[in-house]
């Protein structure tokens, strides 16, 4: 294979496939620590600014420098933002993963590589097109110094890519100007690098059939990741105390919170209306939010699986002593340390029943960055209203990837719900204050916060206590309190965010999912509909489950439960908490660490639905395209 930059196809050229506009996916393969992240971000943003729905997924190693990393970009005019594993184009910039990367492009697809060095024979596939551009060589010519050459090669491949898929050059230029507004010197070299790649490809290859065309920008959308949105939620909810111990993929939530605090919560004299404590570990972080919640501040800690184990003792304490606090669990692939930079929904059971003894916790499951914002705000209200730990359960895919998500709006009439808190006034009207006495039957007893007058003082403990908060080992005193906790949870269950249900005419099958599975499930359902299979969808948004959840399960003859974990944990929770016939429940599980795609869902749904639906209507199976073509069909 020569390095002269001509398009080469090993077989005699077939007919050019028709152009596929604003509907394709590609992947950029690089090594981490080389600066490719910012180039990839520019590419994503440029496409986004062209008004085209796009999403980006970062596949990075648990390491700082030198290991392979990928950035997957999907362009989809219909707004499907889930991952797709079929790449029309690979930007192969990391020789150490050439073999894998080249194998992953779809048949008929394209490979953009750096032909400063020749490609090994073994890497040649017959069914794809190789596009070689001597990026490194050109960068060596244009730039001085190893570091700059490495950095600029990233911008050069962005330029090459831009030429291949028809990116708007003015937009890119604008983005470079914004990015380097304060570092003018860098702007020039970035511009040069971009042009080098762009010109080379334009001159030697031209546009691919998979290409971009500007659409009407939809101002109601933004590009955002879930941790940014969740951090914003914490700001808007009025959280003032934040504690944490660094852990991927929860860290960026706190990074964002800190930045937002600096911007929105700093007095002119530099003093701060917030306190962020980096704790010595997750046990301490949990203790800090428990202490702050007890003191009457809104407090939260973000963590991930290993941290979840460590906070569980404090979660049980807060549950029993009835202290409001918010935990974010940004799930990653387990068990144990697992794959810290891969996604999974493996903590559902651990969250639901966290801590020994009889406990059950409120958990919210945002399905998008947008919901990370709204449900975060709600989490603080629920925590204070029900005086209990509330979990916001997200995952690496939502939290750290770039999602096209509806613009966030704020309702000025919103006021925080601090729950039942007795101040001096209320206390003055009482004969005696009994901390754990439920007077109105909703299971929630009014609390006081430290510093209030002596009448409101009581002793908070995780040991056996009665309605007055007094230490007890008696059956009645103890049982009254833990029975009330159940009443409280039952009240909560009725006001938690309802599941989002999408009904289709004549559907007998229902699909249940939560969190980041939503996008892929929606896409799969659309694809199924095109194939004549109607499936209803329910996205669960809270635990314990509302009555609607059970009703949905019971009203469908076939139920699919989609889990991004090995053990079908959502399914387990549903079967143990909700009445339904388990024989009709089919478990769909994806847990390799990659985000869920519609294909994964279809693969498991079709073998069940096809025979079933075939019985209900004239057979037309043979006319259906094979599974592989589904992605195209679903567009």
């Amino acid at each position: 294979m020569s390095g002269n930059g001509r398009t080469e196809r090993s077989e005699a050229p077939e007919e050019e496939p028709p152009a596929r506009v604003n509907d394709f996916a590609f992947k950029v393969a690089t090594a981490n620590g080389t600066g490719s992240a910012s180039a990839n971000g520019l590419i994503l943003k440029a496409i986004y600014r062209m008004g085209i729905p796009v999403s980006g997924k970062n596949v990075f190693p648990s390491n700082i420098q030198g290991l392979p990393t990928w950035y997957e970009i999907r362009v989809n005019k219909n707004g499907h933002v889930a991952r797709t594993p079929r790449f029309d184009l690979i930007v192969a910039m990391n020789p150490s993963t050439y073999a894998q990367d080249i194998s992953e492009v779809v048949s008929g697809g394209w490979i953009l590589y750096d032909d400063s060095w020749p490609l090994a024979k073994s890497l040649i596939r017959q069914d794809v097109t190789y596009i070689g551009a001597p990026l490194a060589r050109m960068c060596v010519e244009k730039f001085a110094g190893a570091r700059e050459r490495i950095l600029m090669k990233n911008i050069a491949y962005a330029g090459a890519l831009a030429a291949l898929i028809g990116m708007d050059v003015d937009i890119m230029q604008q983005l470079l100007e914004e990015t380097f507004a304060r570092k003018k010197a860098l702007l020039g070299s970035n511009h040069t690098a971009f042009t080098v790649g762009y010109d080379y490809v334009r001159e030697n290859f031209g546009l691919l059939p998979v290409r971009l065309e500007a659409m009407e920008p939809d101002g109601e959308y933004v590009m955002m990741d879930g941790n940014t949105a969740a951090a914003l939620g914490c700001i808007y909810a009025g959280a003032t105390v934040a504690a944490w111990y660094p852990i991927t993929p929860a860290t960026s939530l706190m990074d964002n919170f800190r930045e937002l605090c600096k911007r929105f919560r700093t007095e002119p004299d530099g003093s701060r209306r917030y306190s962020i404590l980096q704790a010595e570990d997750e046990l301490a972080a949990a203790g800090i939010v428990v202490g702050a919640g007890w003191m009457g501040a809104r407090a939260f800690t973000p963590t991930s699986g290993p941290g979840l184990d460590l906070v569980s003792e404090f979660v049980g304490f807060a549950y029993y002593a009835e202290i409001p606090c918010v935990f974010f669990d940004i799930q990653r692939a387990g068990p144990s340390t697992g794959m810290p930079t891969r996604t999974q929904q493996g903590d559902l059971l651990s969250v639901a029943y966290a801590s020994h003894g009889d406990t059950k916790h409120i958990a919210l499951f945002p399905g998008s960055p947008e919901e990370c914002f709204y449900l975060s705000v709600q989490a603080f209200d629920l925590a204070e209203r029900f005086q209990t730990p509330v979990f916001v359960v997200s995952d690496l895919d939502i939290a750290m990837n770039d999602w096209r998500t509806p613009r966030l709006h704020w309702d000025e009439s919103y006021r925080w719900d601090r729950g039942k808190v007795f101040g001096e006034e209320e206390l003055a009207q009482l004969k005696t204050f009994s901390r754990y006495l439920d007077v109105d039957g909703d299971g929630v007893a009014a609390r006081t916060v430290p510093g209030v007058g002596a009448e409101g003082a009581y002793f908070t403990r995780g040991s056996g206590h009665d309605r007055h908060g007094r230490y007890t080992e008696t059956e009645e005193g103890y049982q009254e309190v833990i029975d009330r906790l159940l009443v409280k949870l039952e009240t909560a269950r009725r006001v938690l965010p309802a599941p989002v249900i999408e009904q289709h005419e004549g559907a007998v099958a229902g699909l249940v999912c939560l969190g980041s599975s939503d996008a892929a499930c929606s896409e799969a359902i659309a694809a199924l509909a095109e194939r004549g299979h109607q499936v209803n969808k329910m996205r669960v948004r809270a635990f314990p489950f509302s009555n609607d959840v059970g009703a949905f399960l019971r009203r469908h003859a076939i139920v699919f439960v989609v889990d991004q974990n090995r053990d079908g944990q959502l399914r387990t929770l549903l079967l143990s908490e909700v009445h339904t016939d388990r024989t009709k429940v089919h478990s769909i599980r994806h847990y390799s660490g990659t985000p869920l795609s519609a294909d994964h869902v279809l693969e498991d749904v079709l073998p069940v639905l096809e025979p079933h639906d075939a019985r209900r209507r004239p057979p037309h199976r043979s006319t259906e395209p094979p599974l592989e073509a589904l992605r195209i069909m679903s567009r």
Partner: protein, 349 residues
């Protein structure tokens, strides 16, 4: 068993402090500890310190972990709010509570099991954070509540009631705190209220983490002969390095001019440091370490104010938190509203 309410027996006309309160206003529930337990004497000492400083009881926050020692937060200042955290994790809860409200008076009470075993990491990090609180370690060299196992401050060679023999070297909480740069390090003895109360008072006034290790014999499990945490041994081996003069009035009468040195605390009050050993300089961390460890090697236990560093700045000073307690900020002071969000959204386009 429900908790026991103390019978209120008023025997004589009660002394009143600057707030017009009596000592009774600073007491708590009746103790359920063993008769003679050192911890009860410390409880009395804390009550006394609160009374003498005329602190408003409802502004007191009492925090502890789990253990006989940790129970004692219920036995003092019942008008204050109290919290028994999980075992060994009180320092984190105290840090969080303090972060949310810097305006209250924080007292943490812990045991040697709670602080030096399961809670060692948390104690060390609360010291680093310099959380503004009085931290009392009721050190009896044993796990009282779980019936007599060794703690991390048990002497080598000590035998438990079940016949096990301890072979691990004890942690000296004072040396530990010094090595971590603690800003207030003292050691007292539950059997000497004269010395203890002024130390506790100074600790309450210190702006930062005031660490007071109090030797507190466990009469049930570790008061036997040969225990360095027994009443007998401590009485015999105790040496005072530097302490405080409890009341200003006493200075003139009791002490010579040279041996007393005024120390201005953060809140402006002046405490009078009384040096026993002329050479002892409580502001010299390394010196304190040497002094304590050299005496220890001779079988002596040094008590008193061992180290103080006044200009550290507590957690809030360092982090520049606003003066208003965070938990008292209004929603409007915290939420950037529609305008803020809209502006922000434009940046994510």
């Amino acid at each position: 068993m429900s908790s026991i309410t103390k019978p209120l027996i008023v025997t004589r006309k009660l002394e009143r402090n600057a707030l017009g309160l009596t000592r009774l206003d600073y007491e708590g529930e009746m103790s359920t500890l063993c008769a003679g337990c050192g911890h009860d004497a410390i409880t009395a000492g804390i009550v006394q310190a609160f009374f003498d400083l005329a602190l408003p009881p409802h502004r007191a926050v009492k925090l502890s972990g789990i253990g006989c020692s940790s129970k004692t937060t219920a036995y003092l200042v019942s008008q204050g709010h109290g919290l028994n955290a999980v075992h060994g994790r009180m320092p984190a809860v105290a840090s969080g509570a303090n972060a949310a409200n810097r305006s209250l008076t924080y007292v943490g009470i812990s045991g040697d099991g709670d602080s030096l075993s399961i809670g060692l990491g948390q104690l060390c990090h609360a010291i680093r954070r310099n959380v503004n609180m009085l931290y009392v370690l009721e050190n009896n060299g044993v796990y009282g509540l779980t019936k007599g196992q060794f703690s991390a401050s048990t002497d080598v060679g000590s035998k438990s009631k079940r016949g096990a023999s301890n072979q691990e070297g004890p942690i000296d909480p004072v040396l530990l705190a010094l090595s971590l740069g603690a800003t207030f390090v003292a050691r007292g003895f539950s059997g000497d209220k004269e010395q203890l109360v002024p130390l506790l008072m100074a600790g309450l006034q210190h702006q930062g983490f005031a660490f007071v290790d109090v030797l507190s014999p466990c009469v049930t499990f570790n008061d036997h002969e040969g225990s360095t945490k027994s009443y007998t041994f401590i009485r015999k081996s105790r040496q005072e390095a530097a302490g405080f003069v409890p009341y200003q009035a006493e200075i003139a009468t009791q002490y010579g001019a040279g041996s007393v040195q005024p120390i201005t605390m953060h809140d402006g009050t002046v405490l009078y440091l009384r040096k026993i050993d002329e050479d002892y300089d409580p502001t010299d961390r390394a010196g304190a370490f040497s002094y304590v460890s050299e005496r220890q090697a001779k079988g002596e236990i040094v008590t008193g104010l061992l180290h103080i560093k006044q200009d550290g700045g507590d957690m809030h000073d360092r982090e520049r938190t606003v003066a208003t307690p965070l938990r008292d900020l209004s929603f409007d002071e915290l939420c950037p509203g529609t305008a803020g969000l809209d502006r922000l959204m434009d940046e994510y386009l």
